[in-house]
């Protein structure tokens, strides 16, 4: 008898779930194995509407451009003109955001100071106090006043060129800091007055004030201690930008630092970074609206941060009404963070260049986010400072290129009318027309 061959049953190709993706599944397995949430550094990695979704129109018959190599396009900005006797004058509107000694090595902080100073801008301390390296190499240093108050003292406060009261951070609005035991070296422990090797938690709220009325009194105290000399910034996460900006102005701030969810952190829960806060693109217009409603636009300066990468981002932030921007993650990349030259070592840590974010573990092959003496030796602060200066110069040139093409002789003269959006979401968030139309969702007088 001939055997009758049954026809082969066709199989569908293996199909992955969009809900239970490989990423999600690996996270579930990691949680089940360890019993602890995933902690990492950096900002939101998910795809979000961002400045790439906006375009400049450039000049046309009605707007004429400026000659790129002959006609000036100013970039300077003065911060703290409202109350401070000594406002900060910067050559470029790109500042270095607050990052702590502890999260970063001493040489990395020095490099940030060197690079920022060479480019004519400011750098900022973080949740660990002011180090001599940083003060010594920063011509303009902003001293953060954080809930933890680690290393806070009146002498350093008076050495600062500005004070930044930190209420929130874009990566973790409503969350405190975290520095795990691996990075609490002798020096970090001493500066923070903590036992060595513990998992250090920074508080999420200030210990001696709550709410806008208290903030006003806290600002008064800091002004009295520093003789009303230096500007006082208030940094908020991009949670409720209209109201937070309004309240900070009411409390007496000289400047508002507004941080979107792409803004980085040294370490916090991944779920927090990815699911709390708003994209940087979405927060700038409400904050500018608050400044305008109170007649304070350009009198109280707005510094925008969270995922700023190049001169186009700078120009777009300023066109939407910001006075300056701040960079953190981008500055670290300029110093050498996540550089493919360390690929072999990133692989040993179970990751790859460009994806390394376990900054809290202190094993950074680039020697930047570590307190390990051997790893720190790999990083040359002079070389790092030079790279950062180059990067800041390039960003400035890029922003000037765009501004001149739009016919502006100062970056501050860029305006929303210079922009269109290429997506509906970006049009709605930035309140600029969808490309090819005169409309954006939510435009007053329209029914959408």
């Amino acid at each position: 008898m001939n055997k009758i061959e049954k026809p082969a049953i066709p199989h569908t190709t293996p199909r992955y779930s969009a809900t239970f993706s490989n990423d999600v599944n690996s996270d579930i397995r990691r949680a089940a194995a360890t019993g602890i949430y995933d902690i990492r550094g950096g900002g939101a990695k998910r795809k979000l509407p961002n400045f790439d979704d906006l375009l400049f129109l450039g000049a046309s018959i009605s707007r004429y451009p400026l000659e790129g190599y002959r006609e000036k396009c100013e970039t300077s900005v003065t911060i703290g003109t409202r109350y401070a006797k000594n406002p900060i004058e910067l050559d470029i509107p790109i500042t270095i955001a607050g990052m702590s000694f502890g999260a970063l090595s001493g040489p990395a902080k020095e490099a940030l100071g060197r690079g920022a100073s060479a480019a004519g801008t400011s750098t900022t301390t973080g949740d660990g106090g002011m180090t001599p390296e940083e003060r010594g190499h920063s011509t303009k240093l902003v001293y953060q006043y954080l809930p933890s108050r680690y290393g806070m003292n009146p002498d350093d406060l008076r050495k600062a060129d500005a004070i930044e009261i930190v209420v929130g951070q874009g990566a973790k609005p409503g969350g405190g800091g975290m520095l795990l035991g691996q990075k609490i070296s002798d020096r970090v422990a001493e500066m923070r007055n903590l036992p060595k090797g513990i998992d250090q938690r920074s508080a999420c709220r200030h210990p001696d004030w709550t709410g806008p009325d208290d903030l006003e009194i806290k600002i008064l105290e800091l002004r009295e201690i520093t003789g009303w000399k230096v500007p006082i910034y208030v940094k908020v996460a991009g949670a409720r930008p209209y109201y937070d900006t309004t309240l900070a102005i009411k409390a007496g701030a000289d400047a508002i630092v507004l941080d979107g969810m792409q803004g980085g952190t040294a370490a916090t829960q991944d779920i927090f970074i990815e699911h709390v806060g708003q994209p940087t693109l979405a927060i700038v217009r409400p904050a500018v609206q608050a400044l305008q409603d109170l007649g304070m636009h350009r009198e109280v300066q707005l510094i925008l941060s969270g995922g700023i990468r190049n001169g186009a981002d700078v120009a777009k932030a300023m066109a939407l009404g910001a006075d300056a921007v701040a960079i953190g993650s981008a500055a670290l990349i300029a110093l050498g963070d996540n550089d493919p030259i360390h690929e072999e070592e990133y692989n040993k840590l179970g990751t790859t260049a460009g994806a390394y974010d376990d900054w809290h573990e202190g094993m950074d092959p680039a020697g930047i986010t570590t307190q390990d003496p051997d790893l720190m030796k790999r990083f040359d602060p002079k070389e790092g400072g030079r790279k950062l200066r180059n990067y800041l110069k390039v960003m400035t040139l890029e922003a000037q290129t765009i501004a001149r093409a739009c016919g502006k002789n100062h970056l501050h003269n860029l305006e929303p009318e210079d922009l269109v959006a290429v997506t509906m979401e970006a049009a709605a968030m930035a309140k600029v027309p969808l490309a090819g139309t005169t409309w954006y969702p939510g435009k007053p007088g329209t029914s959408y």
Binding site: G35, N153, D155, L194, D214, E221, E224
Partner: protein, 227 residues
């Protein structure tokens, strides 16, 4: 004695004059009249002077003090002697919330009662309260000593680090990771010295010491119920 009328001359003039005093100043005795609950009185002093404030104050009296002795002949608002570095702040009356918050050094004496969060996040300061203290006192306290001659409210010493807490009366409840500790001779001696400096006649032997159980110093999933 230099008398300064705060209502007549204003806060800026007062603090500016106090900041002008250096280590070698001859103007070591100051009297502030008519404080009337004003905020930020005598903040940021860095000189061995004595400031007597005749009346009650608002927020942050004596904030970030270094070297000076500040006496308040009344009660104080929130955050008295916040972030004090050294010197002495003595309150004749009661203190509102956050007394001595984040203080790094010096001695804060409250002769009445202190409200909630007394000694929050303290970093080396010594605080002696003759009366009672409110809830969440010594929250995340890192180092220094908090001495309470009366009773303590709820959640004393929550998430405590290395600060030492001494309470003579009752403790309504202890916060996460705070536990009763043995009073050893060195603690009795330390307490005797602090009580003497604070002009308090309580006996060291009547106090109970509390400190960190240190179980939350490094994260462990089995301790997550503590929060």
């Amino acid at each position: 004695m230099l008398e300064f009328d705060l209502q007549e001359n204003g806060l800026r003039k007062l603090n500016s004059a106090l900041h002008d005093q250096k280590d070698s100043t001859n103007q070591t005795a100051w009297e502030v009249i008519n404080p009337k609950g004003s905020h930020a009185i005598a903040v940021g002093i860095d000189a061995p002077i004595e400031v007597n404030i005749k009346g009650s104050t608002g927020y942050y009296c004596g904030g970030m003090n270094k070297q000076a002795t500040i006496n308040v002949k009344g009660s104080v608002g929130p955050g008295v002697a916040e972030n004090m570095m050294s010197g002495k702040v003595i309150i004749e009356g009661d203190a509102s919330q956050y007394a001595g918050a984040t203080g790094h050094g010096g001695l804060l004496v409250i002769k009445g009662n202190a409200s909630s969060r007394c000694g929050i996040s303290m970093k080396g300061i010594n605080i002696v309260v003759h009366g009672n203290i409110g809830h969440m006192s010594a929250f995340m306290a890192q180092s220094g000593n908090l001495v309470v001659c009366g009773d303590a409210g709820d959640a004393l010493g929550d998430s405590l680090y290395e600060a030492k807490l001494f309470v003579r009366g009752s403790v309504k409840s202890l916060g996460a990771d705070c536990e009763k500790k043995e009073m050893r001779p060195e603690h009795i001696e330390l307490l005797r010295q602090l009580l003497s400096e604070a002009d308090c006649d309580a006996k060291p032997e009547e106090f109970t010491r509390y400190g960190s159980a240190r179980t939350l110093y490094n994260f462990d999933i089995d301790n997550s119920d503590a929060y």
